[in-house]
């Protein structure tokens, strides 16, 4: 069974169209990253899937149910990390996890949650005394405590330093290895590249590109060849790097010149992203 299936999703706020005809299929057990520029509708999409927002039209199935009409049975099977952190500052880490665990019929073991989010040694600290990054890890812990099949994460690592971000990635991979499906939004392209099994780029209310990170890069074809000639930077893009490079180096050898700063590389995910969304920016 697919974890999420969306067809023809439309959503407007007043006269502002945010989503028009979004299609999305997310398989069970994968980490799926939803990318897009600010205001592209990432949060709107994820909040419709979480059941917070109504849609104007389209079909949406989350774990086989329609989130707009589903009740607490569906909410018991999903975990949610909202964009902003929200916890009771007066409780200790272990108290707030136990409080939320009590909302579920078969919660995950609290010790396991503490270990997964790396807060075992802060278990008795009041939430108000924690750093911003530690509070964000409680957010993640609260999303895991119900032992969900599907976890939504809206920008889970925004504001993290690089080390904390790598730790969060390990946690998220660990969750997938435990069998959970994960849908996350991010505006860190490296995060999407490192972490996701598949990703989609949301642009102007539709999915503009979708696939595995490697597949998308391979499909984008163009390899970039750069070098300097007479002090000027030359940039070439080609689908046939072998032939172009051969011609280039043959000519240079014949002329007896060195191709200064010669570089052959595939475009990064960031360049692919800018290609997809950048046409009108």
């Amino acid at each position: 069974m697919r974890a999420i299936e969306v067809r023809g999703l439309h959503k407007s706020y007043g006269s502002r169209k945010v989503l028009h005809g979004l299609d999305l299929k997310i398989e069970s057990g994968e980490i799926f990253a939803l990318l897009g520029p600010n205001g592209a509708g990432k949060t709107t999409t994820i909040e419709i899937l979480e059941g917070y927002r109504d849609r104007d039209s389209g079909e949406v199935q989350v774990l086989g149910e329609d989130p707009a009409t589903a009740g607490s049975e569906l909410r018991a099977r999903i975990g949610i990390v909202l964009q902003s952190s929200a916890v009771y500052p007066q409780l200790s880490v272990v108290e707030i996890l136990k409080l939320f665990a009590g909302y579920y019929t078969s919660p995950r073991d609290i010790e396991q949650v503490l270990a997964l989010v790396g807060l075992s040694d802060r278990r008795n600290a009041r939430v108000r005394t924690l750093s911003g990054g530690q509070k964000r890890r409680i957010d993640l812990g609260l999303a895991l405590v119900g032992n969900p099949e599907l976890i939504f994460m809206d920008e889970p690592t925004t504001g993290f330093d690089p080390e904390a971000r790598h730790q969060a990635w390990d946690t998220i991979r660990g969750l997938r290895d435990l069998g959970a499906t994960i849908l996350l939004t991010t505006h860190y392209l490296e995060e999407a590249h490192q972490l996701s099994d598949r990703l989609a780029i949301l642009h102007e209310g539709v999915i503009a590109a979708m696939g595995t990170p490697e597949g998308l890069l391979a499909a984008s074809g163009a390899v970039k060849i750069t070098y300097q000639r007479d002090g000027e930077l030359v940039v070439m893009r080609t689908d046939e790097p072998t032939r172009v490079l051969h011609e280039l180096t043959t000519q240079a050898l014949a002329d007896g010149v060195e191709l200064e700063g010669l570089e052959v590389r595939r475009p990064s995910l960031e360049e692919l992203f800018l290609d997809v969304v950048g046409a009108d920016e």
């Binding site: 049975e73 949610i80 909202l82 929200a86 009590g102 909302y103 579920y104 019929t105 609260l142």
Partner: protein
């Protein structure tokens, strides 16, 4: 299942209340402190033909209910809404009404303890009279708390930010406690203030409470006050159902 969830949430709300010193001070301790201060000042005086401490006891119990069920509840709900906590709770299997119900249940527990302390303090230290019928008195406390809780939930719909919540809420209920006569006799008040007082919910609650404490009457002796108080509760409920929001309003 529902009962177990409610008790689980009620326990958490109690723990949260007693760990929040602002809430504990303003809604639990303050009525007791004022009872002690004003009891010492005019406990022996005569107010509207009643012993001062007896008059004050009814007033501070009413003030406490307005402070906790209206003021404290409204401010707590706005803070939780604006921080995103209410939204987060809606994303769990906990039915949201259980969360709100447990908050109101927690207010009832706080009110019960506060009232018990005030009765003992006023009686032992200032020789105040005690309610004639405990059952009727309990009903008055219950209806009063429910009505003010409904009004408190309703007002949250009109407060847009966490920063403004305590200012707006205090500006509404503090003047009401003076006009309704929680602190002193309203007989010397200008007629237009007396006319306003006739409408305010706290005036009706105070008449019920003082009827019990001063003259040993029951709710049956004050049907119009009971109906007026309940009507305020219904108005609050209708407004709350229309205006209540789970998601942050300030962006």
């Amino acid at each position: 299942m529902t009962g177990r969830l409610f008790l689980h949430e009620l326990r958490a709300q109690q723990r949260l209340f007693w760990r929040t010193w602002e809430a504990t001070f303003f809604t639990f301790l303050l009525p007791i402190i004022f009872l002690a201060i004003f009891g010492a000042i005019y406990g022996d005086a005569d107010i509207d033909g009643t012993r001062g401490s007896t008059f004050l006891l009814g007033g501070m119990i009413g003030f406490g209910i307005a402070a906790s069920a209206f003021g404290g509840l409204a401010i707590t709900v706005v803070l939780r809404r604006e921080s995103g906590l209410l939204k987060r709770i809606r994303g769990t299997p906990l039915p949201p009404w259980i969360h709100l119900g447990a908050m109101i249940g927690s207010v009832l527990i706080v009110t019960a303890i506060s009232v018990a302390v005030q009765l003992v303090l006023a009686h032992l230290a200032f020789d105040a009279d005690l309610p004639g019928s405990p059952w009727s008195f309990a009903i008055e406390l219950l209806v009063g708390t429910a009505a003010f809780a409904a009004l408190g939930l309703a007002i949250t719909g009109f407060v847009r930010s966490a920063e403004g919540s305590s200012a707006i809420v205090n500006a509404i209920y503090l003047p009401m406690t003076f006009i309704s006569g929680a602190w002193f006799s309203t007989e010397a008040m200008p007629t237009f203030l007396q006319a306003i007082a006739e409408i305010l919910p706290l005036t009706h609650l105070l008449r019920l409470l003082r009827g019990s404490i001063v003259s040993g009457e029951t709710v049956v002796d004050h049907p119009t006050n009971l109906i007026a108080l309940a009507a305020w509760g219904v108005i609050g409920l209708v407004l709350a159902l229309r205006a209540f929001r789970w998601e942050p309003r300030a962006t």
